[in-house]
């Protein structure tokens, strides 16, 4: 479709979507823990912005609520919790060596293309940008998952998980004027609890393994005699 036919706000949505995608790539590529957390926070903020725009474009007021919710939770709350934990565990300087960064990013790109191809058959229903946004959000989800596969820093894995949630949220907002409010609230609640639990687990893993390397969590393996 042609961008010129779209309103400025809608063009804005596309730009933001592109930035969200970029943020996911940052998340995958960032070797410094703190920076990774920051890129996650940025992603949250961008999603909130998108929500605002969509709310404006389609004047669906309840989206404003969820926009605020997102801002508080994804852009501020969770990153703050993670920061707190990182400081508590003295991991500010934590760096993780990516094995084969080039390959990792290449696969990421592949996933983006795949998700675009995957949603092609979904013909546009009403709102022009739908399909492309869905493609982006699917890409964000897959990238989040890929981030969890590629990185073995536990906290970064959690960030990947959270960014999957971001992708879902984006899909919900952009494709279908947002889910019913009660669902939104439930999701938000779950995410919050999840974040807290993650915190608890970091501490426990930390005190059991003295490191947050996911590859060290391999006692329960059936490969050979334990």
């Amino acid at each position: 479709m042609n961008l010129l036919h779209l309103s400025l706000a809608e063009q804005g949505i596309f730009v933001l979507a592109a930035l969200i995608l970029l943020a996911s790539f940052f998340l995958i590529a960032q070797v410094r823990l703190v920076a990774a957390i920051h890129s996650f926070a940025w992603q949250g903020a961008l999603i909130a912005a998108v929500t605002f725009l969509v709310a404006g474009v389609q004047n669906t007021p309840h989206l404003l609520v969820s926009a605020v919710l997102t801002l508080l939770l994804k852009a501020i709350g969770i990153p703050w919790i993670l920061h707190f934990l990182v400081r508590k565990m003295g991991l500010e300087r934590e760096m993780e060596r990516l094995q084969r960064p080039a390959l990792t990013l290449l696969v990421g790109t592949g996933l983006v293309i795949f998700s675009y191809w995957a949603v092609l058959p979904i013909e546009r229903l009403e709102f022009g940008a739908t399909r492309n946004i869905i493609a982006i959000s699917l890409a964000v989800v897959l990238l989040g998952l890929w981030c969890m596969v590629a990185r073995h820093q536990v906290i970064v894995q959690v960030l990947g998980f959270m960014s999957m949630e971001n992708g879902l949220f984006l899909a919900a907002v952009a494709s279908t004027k947002g889910m019913p409010l009660v669902v939104e609230l439930g999701v938000a609640f779950d995410v919050l609890v999840a974040a807290i639990l993650f915190g608890i687990f970091f501490l426990q893993i930390r005190e059991n393994l003295t490191t947050l390397d996911a590859d060290r969590l391999n006692r329960l393996s059936e490969k050979e005699e334990r």
Binding site: A118, V119, P121, I122, E123, L125, E126, I134, L138, V141, L145, M148, Q157, F161, M164, E165, G167, L168, A171, A172, S175, T176, K177, M179, P180, V182, V183, G186, V187, F189, D190, V193, A194, L197, F198, F201, Q204, I205, N208, L209, L217, N218, R219, L220, E222, R226
Partner: protein, 490 residues
Amino acid sequence: MTSVHWVLVLPAVGIFVLAGIPSLAVAGWLNLLLTFAELLAALALGWQVKQSGVLVLPGFYIDAFNVYLVALTTFVGFTTAVFSRPYMAELVDKGLLSRRRMRLYHAMYQGFLLTMLLALTTNNLGILWVSIEGATLATVLLVSLYRTPEAIEAAWKYFILCGVGIALALFGNVLVYFGAQPVVTHPEDGLTWSLLYPYAEHMNPTVMSMAFVFLLVGYGTKVGLVPMHFWLPDAHSEGPTPVSAVLSGLLLNVALYAVVRLKMLASPAILAADLPDLPGLLMMGFGLLSFSVAVLSLHRQRDIKRLFSYSSIEHMGLMTFAFGMGGPLATFAALLHMLVHSLTKSAIFVTVGHATHIAGTQTLEQIRGLIRVQPGVGWGLLLGVAAIAGFPPFGIFTSEFLVLSATIQHWPWLTGILLVGLGIAFAGLFRQIHPVVYGPAPEGQRPVRANMLPVLIHLLLVLWLGLAIPGFLAGWLNEVTQLLVGEGLL
């Protein structure tokens, strides 16, 4: 306030009350009472549904399908509570658990039940998702209750894998919502089952098939379908035994329930566009894969609880296969199998719990001569395994028999695989359990304070179902079958 609300309010209250009660004994009994009350409420609900057919309340939608699972859930919840009271108390006496954790345990036990029941009774697919995620959150702490490195690792994997799975399921939900927009009048209703189901065949097939893929992978992770099953053995083996019992007996069922519900939504849409029944085929494929992987894995286990968690995967695979195959016979069989499997498996986990207390370990090599040490536990385990291996006159034989006969009718060549699998599974189970129950008693093993009542009840029920399926149950399952595949069996 109808029985539905009672079914949900009781556990909700239970969470906070039990979290607050310091006394262990009181909490144990209270937990027992609450579960019993829930059971009664569930039966009342069942009665109500039996009278009035489908029951649609604001926010709730109760038909024969979920009410029978509600009853099953509360029943197993109750019997497991009966077992867990003395069992957990013994753990505390041994000093393996602090009283604070016991409060957490009891609270989360109720929380788990709450999420299960909510997931079953809700009318909104979104809430369904939320409560299944909630179930993960409630049980993850139970799995890590012992705080051993293994427990924490298991809980972590459980958490992450199920979290990711659930997230994918949510994406599926979004797609359903998206696909629903054109067919529902008010966009808000896009996830309301009662409004969505009638228009299922008008939905966009492509969207629905894509949605179903996400939902299958998502909820399938919770069902324990291969290759998303990796969390399951870990969580079952490292958590406290009552938790393993309810995970195997209930959580998997509820997840499968979700998958089936969404298949009911997706299949008509796809069939309406006369494409092959993709959801059914996918479920059959996953079911068969899980079944075959699980039966082979049985041979390699060294931990008794891992062993039985794999047998859970096997049976969930069988059910998924049957549901996927569709048709009244297979569906009836799958429903029956759900029932008997939950009963048998939770009974087995109860006996396994006692066995591990007797031997003081979960390692198969070190649990020996149970029948000598404590005949009750030994025979319970032996008979339970015989039942789960599909020996008549226990009920699992009946359901497997029906699954097989349905397979012979529709996919004759798959029957061979199933039979070979069943043989291998049998060999795997028995060659592990044989030395555990038989043989001379090892040095220094003492009988424990065992409460075999739940086992007895469950096995008797399974035996009853094997000898004769009571009319009302048959009628009930038949209603469900009608609901799921349009035509009944009787």
